[in-house]
Symmetry: C2
Subunit: 302 residues, 2 copies
């Protein structure tokens, strides 16, 4: 397996899927659909949808060219999770939240349009994620229901949104605890990474035990990913990141870097990457792509 | 049938359901869950969830005390639609939208808490609506999938959110057209009323033809409801409404009242009420409660 070309194949499918599964920009009202596509098309790593596609293939053992009979295509679910992730970024960037002007190297939605349009575009992307699942997996209603449940739980008030709420509350005090930081990272970041792996497993027909393993791998991968993000915020520049660097230190925000220092944060990240890979080794199927993805991510802070 | 006591029975079930199906206020993070409950518990007519419950009973022919085997309980879906409706009010009241301080006689969420908390509480209620459907109807996955699809379509970028977007755009110009106004009302208001009837029909096991009839009835009921709201905004006072009165005229907003005058608006509202009732007469089952509900609504502007 050539990792770079596999990654490219998955990302290309995601980009095609985003175009296919999201209403045209000129759909009425055009301003809303233009804003939805503006934010979706800003790029980014497409990590979550790629995880959905790669995990599905791990179990169904096929790519889109040769889908076994009775197996569902993962692309609509991959697009759904990217819609949901993009909504969370749009709302997170709003003036009442992080008030950020730059995202993925471009103006954030509320700078490019206005606050109301950004708010509604976020709401619409969140809603569209569930519409996509219910519509595209309707022929396998048990799968559709399980996908909606996995995504809604991961994105809900006890996980993604709960993590964002605690993050905001923690910013207001300079001394967030390690417990608060763990809650934030587990929910704000790891929840959606877990959901990506679980949704891929569900579509690929993974057994219950494998779903639990995917959840554990996603938890470690998500934590590693967030700590790496914290380290890069502290050590890289804005041009490299495509988003404002040094934000955390400027805001005196509690991060793994602030709590433990860069070196210790780096080893916690590597430890979580290793645990994610180790969990994946328990899965049947060819996990070399997913393991390489983790290695590539970890190499950014090596 | 005694309409008032039937209505009271349905509303009481909805209030119990809201308490049962929404996380406790002290669930971590407590500020978020407190805000979600604050907005849900502000009261209101509970029109949409009552429509879900009443429409389900129309077809299943039972109340919660005697649910026939294999029939699903409508309460979780009723709560889901109220969560979705409440999210739309919270976001609509935000400073970047209508910037309203008063809702259902109390401080709006962003006044009571802050903008970020209100934003996240809205996001969480929207997400929770889908979680409730996927979780509580999982034993009937085909029903669960159909419910998610009906709700997500009605709440999506082409309907509820699309209507809010066009409403905002129309506010910026003093001369919105009748076409724009119809788009706004059909989507901002009627979509969720339609969804309430359709979801009730799906849970009650209505046949496809009846679902189409419910959709048509909901469209007329929704239009009547919105026009009545416009008339009351122009003719009633803030204390009576429990929300700021006279807002539309103050903002020189295009409404049915502004376009056609109060008298013509009143007759368009009554016409739509009559069409909703007439559609309902085509349904099998006892529609007297739903017809009385429409009459009671229309009587507010008689």
């Amino acid at each position: 397996m050539d990792f770079a070309s596999e990654l490219k194949r998955h990302v290309a499918r995601v980009e095609r899927g985003l175009d296919q599964f999201v209403p045209r920009a000129n759909t009425r009202p055009a301003r809303l659909h233009t804003a939805m596509r503006y934010s979706l098309e800003a790029g980014g790593k497409r990590l979550r949808p790629v995880l959905v596609l790669a995990t599905t293939e791990l179990f169904s053992g096929s790519d889109d060219a040769a889908l076994p009979a009775g197996k569902a295509d993962a692309l609509a679910a991959a697009v759904a999770i990217e819609c949901l992730h993009t909504y969370s970024l749009i709302h997170d960037d709003l003036p009442c939240m992080d008030n950020d002007d730059l995202r993925r190297g471009r103006a954030t939605a509320h700078k490019q349009f206005d606050e109301a349009t950004a708010l509604l575009a976020g709401d619409a992307l969140l809603t569209h994620a569930f519409a996509l699942l219910a519509e595209n997996y309707a022929a396998q209603p048990q799968l559709a229901t399980a996908l909606v449940r996995a995504l809604a739980d991961a994105a809900g008030s006890r996980r993604l949104i709960g993590g964002q709420m605690e993050d905001l509350l923690a910013e207001k005090k300079a001394d967030a605890t390690a417990d608060e930081l763990e809650f934030i990272h587990l929910n704000k970041t790891a929840a959606m990474i877990e959901a990506a792996l679980v949704m891929g497993g569900l579509i690929g027909g993974a057994k219950e035990g494998d779903i639990a393993t995917l959840r554990r791998a996603g938890r470690h991968l998500g934590l590693a990913f967030q700590i790496i993000d914290d380290i890069l915020d502290a050590t890289a520049d804005t041009a490299t990141l495509g988003k404002t660097a040094g934000k955390d230190a400027k805001a005196d925000k509690t991060t793994f870097v602030k709590l433990h220092g860069v070196d210790a944060a780096r080893s916690i990240a590597h430890e979580n990457s290793a645990q994610a890979k180790s969990a994946m080794k328990n899965l049947e199927g060819e996990t070399v792509f997913l393991e390489s993805l983790i290695d590539t991510m970890a190499a950014r802070i090596s």
